[in-house]
């Protein structure tokens, strides 16, 4: 125990809370004197001896096991009160030592468990149900599956673990259950932790604290959550202390190494190609407008060289030398060397629990230390204390306190945003040299021409150059968040069949984010110089003080939830009824504020007051007058809800089950008229256990069950109001204070309604050798709230309205096997989901031009199609004469791009299909041999399309955004046979030429792929091999091993487009139980 304590201190670097010290102290001091207890363990039913039962006590350093003849002996401290006798197949027994006369020959009777395997239970967040009592569609993910992967966030462990659950990269909703159920922003399922929706950041939850997860999918399962359940519900249940349980300590540690991302995967254009293009543009006089622009917009180093050569300041030879040198530089080399590294995540967790007759407790402490591949450093400390107390037989009090602290120190910007501080909207040119050989930061062009910066202010301004490599040390961003959750529950057993429960939960999350932009950061220097004023006597005045700039953000979330519920259960003869009836209310408040401080000195916390009302002519172009923005901002939102609910089930002879549930919701988010006349959302379901019928006999099967449910759930939409709401803004001295209309009223707005029909079939052969589930579902989602464009003669362009209908359907298949015997076992699992959505044909599309829907990868909302669709301009190849892309207009080939884009209707455009997977699945192979375990998991996603990026010459010329497709461009007649990339053109015949190609059929790829998600290898040291340990497992997990098959021929990862991609990671760790 002392060792444990030391270990503990190591883990938490001495940050032990006094409480846990005391807790451990209590355990350690109990050594004093030892006595010996001997006895025998006997099966209470058969009176046979029980071998291998563990005999332990709170203070025992060494537990003992019963021998073949049931006999045991154990050394314990004389102060010990209780002995615990545990065995996997039996209920735990407790021997109260003060109640027995002799410590010799103690006889202990163990009652066998009703079922050896852990019973599958479903937690809906309101009640815990046996699987047999349900008619709805659920998936449960048990603790063992959750431990298949190592991650800081629980969400990262869910992909591929359940049918119907799909993860997608942004801009698609990151997590969906059974497809898309809404057309507004909230498409992700409701996440419930224990009993109430979790309002804070879900990453506050330590995955090691989680016992299991239930996913509620259909109406019968989810409609208890009413108007919030339309997207499905994920119920996370944390571990709890149990009554009558000996002290258990489990320790988990792991290290995860993340490989360094391959930055060369981005589609960059080569430096020499880029320089060639710039030379061509220069010779065509393209840069003249920029040179003449009085705002001194940036020109690239190559263009500056060309200008100097034109002006006779540089010889032809020198120019070519310098260009030659620049063409050797690849900016990605610096990113590879100085930006990206490998990452390392460390996770430590200790969990202790125990329980006596009247009380039970659990304490858990976790520590995570992560270093990302972009040098972000983050730490998380989680703590959870759960107590159950039963002062009387019929009263139970449960308290729980959970606290989490997250800290993050931001590292470097990823490649794509590397040139972020840039008003001129230029990307990084590929020959940018960011770091010299000695490791010093080098300047690159940013907001202004280098020629202007070099001379502006005659040396009286601060350095105006931009050094990307130095930005990290000059912009210190720290984010800290603390979340505290407290939960109190009182349960009163009125009679055998009635229980009353009251629950209250309080959660507060405080997040502060500071960005300290030192006087050396580009942002600060640029502000100082832009506002600098020449006083006319050759002196420079600096209205933006010469210190740093501190941006402070603060966000507070406060949630109060309250519930009163009565649980009913009654059985007579072959009938059994259970149900819950309750009332709940909740209020979630969010507050955020933002403040900027000028002249900030992080050494002495000094700052300088600035005049925020006065307008200053900008140094680089005095016709622009700007105030020194205080950027002060305070916002807040409130979400209040009041609900009444009922859920009941009736079971006859374990053959037939009927379920019924209903819920009525009121919220401040609905329009006033909706709250006044709400109709409850309801569901009904039935199941039939065929094998219980006397007239059906299928010898091969042990279970055959049909289920059917029908019902409604809902989705709330964010904002609406019954009257015009306004926002106030302060005056500026020159102008009075004013107000703006914030929200136009639509008092009729109501929740979106999801009608759900589900048909299910469960089967299993004897001993669960083969088991499976088949689910068919259909959905109709009505009253979808979309922000509808209206005739803006009304004075505003859009309003949220219940305006659309969508259909959803799908099939889910789950097949499991338990093969092999004795030492060798093979447990394959196959999960397949087919899910598709279609917006109703009669949905009023406000614009029939295809161009409104052809864009990136976001929500499209085309009538009759999937809400996320890929549509494109028809493609007729390249013109063999000039390499122009050819499209279709009025049934003819055409190169009139603005007409093509202007005239192509949704009907004319090519609809490829959904842009989110419509088929997806998991193939998981579990193998155990003796103490070895191996699991290999493959993920499949298919039935969808994506659009890849390509070269757009306009962006190349104006914004310096190149693309590796440049090398594939059409250059001579004949190339059109092997490439679809249009020829380079200057001047562009139409700015829409690029747009047409980029959004044509030619850039669409199939998304189907199979990914080797993870391999998990473990070894269990069984029994009491290692002294005091009751079990010890070591494991090695390789995650994200990459794509092993893909439909696209370009080697693209459809889930990591235009990024450096996700590198694999490797974890090593152990789990020990004492």
């Amino acid at each position: 125990m002392v060792k444990l304590l030391q270990l503990y201190q190591k883990i938490t670097k001495g940050k032990l809370t006094p409480m846990i010290c005391m807790l451990l102290w209590n355990i350690t001091i109990a050594y004093s004197q030892t006595i010996k207890v001997t006895g025998k363990v006997i099966n209470a039913n058969s009176n046979e001896h029980v071998e291998g039962a563990t005999i332990s006590c709170y203070s025992c350093t060494i537990s003992s096991q019963s021998r073949e003849d049931g006999l045991f002996e154990i050394l314990i401290a004389d102060t010990t009160k209780n002995l615990f006798i545990t065995h996997l197949g039996y209920e735990t027994a407790i021997v109260e030592l003060r109640k027995i006369s002799s410590r010799r020959d103690v006889v202990v009777y163990l009652t066998p468990n009703s079922s050896v395997l852990e019973e599958v239970v479903i937690n809906t967040g309101y009640q815990t149900l046996a699987k047999e009592r349900s008619t709805g569609s659920y998936s449960t993910i048990d603790n063992k599956l959750l431990n298949q992967r190592v991650s800081t966030s629980i969400i990262d462990r869910l992909e591929g673990m359940s049918t119907g659950l799909l993860f997608s990269p942004s801009p698609k909703p990151s997590m969906t259950v059974r497809g898309i159920n809404s057309l507004s922003s909230g498409m992700e399922p409701l996440i419930v932790v224990d009993n109430f929706p979790y309002q804070g950041n879900i990453d506050n939850i330590n995955p090691n604290d989680i016992l299991n997860i239930t996913i509620l999918k259909d109406a019968a399962a989810a409609s208890i959550w009413g108007a919030r359940a339309g997207n499905g519900v994920i119920v996370i249940t944390t571990k709890k202390g149990k009554l009558n349980q000996p002290l258990q300590v489990s320790l988990t540690m792991n290290q995860t190494y993340t490989a360094k991302p391959n930055v060369y995967k981005v589609n960059n254009m080569s430096s020499s190609d880029f320089i060639e293009v710039e030379k061509m543009l220069f010779s065509n006089g393209y840069y003249q407008t920029w040179e003449d622009d009085p705002m001194h917009p940036p020109l690239s180093p190559v263009v500056e060289l060309l200008i100097r050569q034109r002006e006779g300041l540089l010889s032809e030879n020198e120019l070519n030398n310098q260009l030659g040198m620049l063409s050797q530089i690849n900016v990605l080399d610096d990113f590879d060397k100085y930006w990206y590294t490998s990452g390392l995540n460390q996770q430590y967790n200790i969990n202790m629990q125990g329980g006596g007759n009247q009380s039970a407790w659990l304490f858990s402490l976790g520590y995570d230390n992560n270093k990302s591949t972009l040098q972000d450093k983050s730490e998380r400390i989680t703590m959870r204390i759960n107590n159950q107390y039963r002062p009387f037989e019929n009263i139970q009090i449960t308290t729980e306190i959970a606290a989490t602290q997250n800290t993050l120190k931001a590292g470097r910007q990823p490649y794509s945003n590397a040139n972020l501080v840039n008003n001129a909207q230029k990307y990084l040119y590929p020959y940018a040299d960011l770091v010299d050989e000695a490791g010093n930061a080098l300047p690159i062009v940013n907001n202004f021409r280098s020629r202007y910066i070099d001379t502006a202010g005659n040396g009286q301004l601060v350095d105006w150059k931009y050094y990307p490599y130095a930005e990290k040390q000059n912009n210190i961003q720290k984010i800290k968040s603390i979340d505290v959750l407290a939960n109190l529950a009182l349960r009163y057993t009125v009679s055998k069949s009635i229980q009353l429960e009251a629950r209250y939960q309080y959660e507060k999350q405080h997040t502060s984010s500071d960005l300290d932009q030192s006087p050396l950061s580009y942002f600060t220097r640029n502000m100082i110089n832009s506002y600098a004023q020449d006083d006319g006597n050759g002196n420079m005045l600096f209205p933006v003080p010469l210190g740093g700039i501190l941006d402070e953000n603060e966000a507070v979330l406060e949630a109060n939830s309250f519930r009163i519920q009565s649980d009913l259960s009654h059985s007579w003869n072959k009938h059994s009824v259970i149900g819950v009836l309750g009332f709940e209310a909740g209020l979630v408040k969010n507050r955020a504020s933002y403040y900027r401080t000028y002249g900030y000195n992080n050494q002495n916390q000094g700052f300088v007051e600035t005049d925020n009302a006065k307008l200053f002519p900008q140094y680089y172009y005095p016709a622009i007058m700007l105030p020194i923005f205080s950027n002060r901002n305070i916002t807040g939102t409130n979400t209040g809800r009041v609900s009444y609910y009922f859920n009941g089930s009736y079971d006859y002879a374990k053959k037939y089950v009927l379920t019924l549930s209903a819920r009525r919701d009121q919220s401040n988010l609905f329009g006033s008229r909706t709250n006044e006349r709400t109709v409850p959302l309801w569901s009904a379901g039935a199941s039939w256990n065929l094998l219980e019928e006397s007239f059906i006999e299928i010898p091969a099967l042990s279970l055959l069950k049909f289920r059917f449910t029908y019902g409604f759930s809902g989705n709330m939409n964010p904002r609406s109001s019954a009257t015009t709401l306004i926002t106030h803004y302060p005056g500026t001295g020159q102008l009075p204070e004013y107000a703006a209309i914030g929200l136009h009223p639509n008092p009729y707005l109501r929740w979106e309604k999801v009608r759900n029909i589900n048909f299910g079939l469960d089967f299993s052969t004897h001993e669960d050798r083969f088991s499976g589930k088949l689910e068919l579902f259909r959905k109709k989602i009505t009253d979808l709230s979309t922000t509808v464009p209206i005739d803006y003669t009304a004075g505003f362009a859009t309003i949220p309205m219940n305006s659309a209908t969508m259909f959803g359907k799908g099939i889910e298949i789950e097949l499991k096997g338990r093969l092999g015997k004795n030492a060798f076992r093979y447990t394959p699992t196959l999960l397949m989901s087919f899910v598709s959505n279609k917006i109703s044909e009669d949905y009023l599309a406000t614009n029939l031009r295809a161009s409104s829907y052809i864009s990136g990868a976001g929500l499209t909302r085309i009538p009759g199609k999937s809400p996320y669709s890929v549509i494109s301009y028809p493609w007729a190849g390249l013109n063999p004469e000039n390499g122009n892309p050819v499209g279709r207009l009025d049934g003819q080939n055409s190169e009139n791009y603005s007409e093509i884009i202007g005239q192509t209707t949704i009907e004319d455009a090519i609809y490829q299909g959904s842009s989110i997977p419509t088929v997806f699945g998991t193939f998981r192979n579990g193998l155990t041999w003796k103490n070895f375990g191996l699991s290999v998991q493959l993920l499949y996603k298919g039935g969808y399309y994506f659009r890849r990026s390509t070269i757009r010459y306009g962006l190349l010329y104006d914004n310096w955004l190149g693309h590796s497709d440049f090398t594939l461009r059409w250059q001579k007649t004949g190339d059109e046979k092997s490439t679809s990339v249009p020829s380079i053109q200057y001047p562009l015949s139409s700015s829409q030429r690029d747009t047409f190609y980029a959004f044509s059929e030619a850039t669409i790829e199939k998304g189907d792929h199979i990914r080797l998600q993870d391999i998990n290898l473990s070894y269990n040291f069984s029994g009491s091999i290692i002294g005091k340990l009751s079990s010890f497992q070591v494991y090695l997990i390789a995650n994200n091993l990459g794509i092993i098959w893909r439909a696209n021929k370009k080697g693209l990862d459809p889930e990591a487009l235009n990024t450096v991609g996700h590198p694999y990671n490797l974890s090593f760790g152990f789990r020990a139980n004492f």
């Binding site: 393209y286 003249q288 407008t289 003449d292 009085p294 009125v494 009251a502 009332f583 209310a585 002519p617 172009y621 005095p622 016709a623 622009i624 007058m625 305070i634 916002t635 807040g636 939102t637 409130n638 979400t639 209040g640 009041v642 009121q666 919220s667 401040n668 709250n675 964010p718 904002r719 609406s720 109001s721 009257t723 015009t724 709401l725 306004i726 926002t727 106030h728 020159q734 102008l735 009075p736 204070e737 004013y738 107000a739 703006a740 929200l743 464009p789 209206i790 005739d791 803006y792 003669t793 009304a794 004075g795 505003f796 362009a797 309003i799 406000t846 614009n847 202007g902 001047p987 700015s991």
Partner: protein, 452 residues
Amino acid sequence: MNIYSHNCRLILYVLLVGIFASCKKYTEIKPDETFFTINSLSDVKSLLDNTSIMNTSQPSTPEIASDNFFILSKDWSNLSSLTQKNSYIWDKDVYSDSKNNDWFYIYRTVSYSNVVLDNIDRFSSSATSEEINSIRAAALFYRSWSLFQAITIWTAPYDSSKSNKLLGVPLRTSTDFNEVNRRSTLEESYQFIIKDLQEAVKYLPKYVDYKTRPSKAAAYGLLSRIFLAQNAYERAGAYADSCLQTNSKLIDYNDLSVSSNAPIPKFNEEVIFHTTAVRALILNNPRGKIDTLLYSSFNTNDLRKELFFKPTSGYQSFKGSYDGSATLFTGLAIDEMYLTKAEALARTGFADEGIELLNTLLKKRYLSNTFTPITVSDNEEALNVILQERRKELVYRHIRWMDLRRLNSERAHATTIKRLLNQSFELPPNDNRYAFPIPEFIVKNSEIIQNP
């Protein structure tokens, strides 16, 4: 145990009743803390003080379509805004690239005014009728100002013989977004705004604390513009005169610095009512270049030549905004009133008085002691001089389009505008294209009829 459980129940019931009562308010709490209902007169007033909506989002397309500037072919093809490109060549496809177009900006101002007019009577018990009337008058002014902009852009030029048949603009007075919009006749449109303004002028204050708020003078000035657009010169002159009665002080341009990039200060003494146009890249330095003939028509002693323009790569660009910045001023100023009154005088047979007024203005525009007062021999010559000076003085004020429309009805003053890009374009006088196309989206989603 029985007593215990009895008490327990009692406590539970009391608790329950308390909770049900207190939770009721959860459904009534406002969802967003930054939003407030309109519940005082000062709230209403604050809406009209929202300058970015009421004053500084004025249309720029009419100026783009006018003849004050030109743009080089390569700059034109590099422009990203389809509306700007196509307005320049009077193409039909305008306003389709963005919903943030002139129609939206104009009717957003109308809707703010309507929200104010809808709510103002709720506070009649807590405020004097004087206060209420002045806020109502301001709302009427803003609505009329915006609708007059709409008339200038989307209707045919006024012609009293056909104004009952020609289409006007939708005259929105409601705040209900469900109401279907239709066009009124041109005559109705003019009568509507004139009536509102004549009502407003009674209650608007003589002096305002901020030049972004309408004053009596502003209402007179706007009425003068409206009657000028109807070729009702007598009334245009009379209202210009009423406006000048309150203030007729001109800035002496000799006091301004020609070297400055924005020489004319914001909210200066000449400004009656301050508005500015939304930024249009096509108009501004370095793309927009001043018409060379227009530039050369300025005399060398004319200070405006250097105060209004600056050389940029061989051409001239504009820097003379009354906003003291690169943002273009489109509001009402004293100089315009001088010119309107002068024109009205010349047109109604008082040529000498008109020229005298013009000379008062020009004296303040020329280098000290270099200005020789203009003399004319007849009415026609007087009118020509006044109109030419009007064009020079009001360059880039977004008034030219209105002037082109009304002057085209007179053969002597009609203009054909030409554009030379890779191909050439021409806008002859009284062309149908003098009425811009209404945004296609609006036509599809209302009962509004498209222009020919």
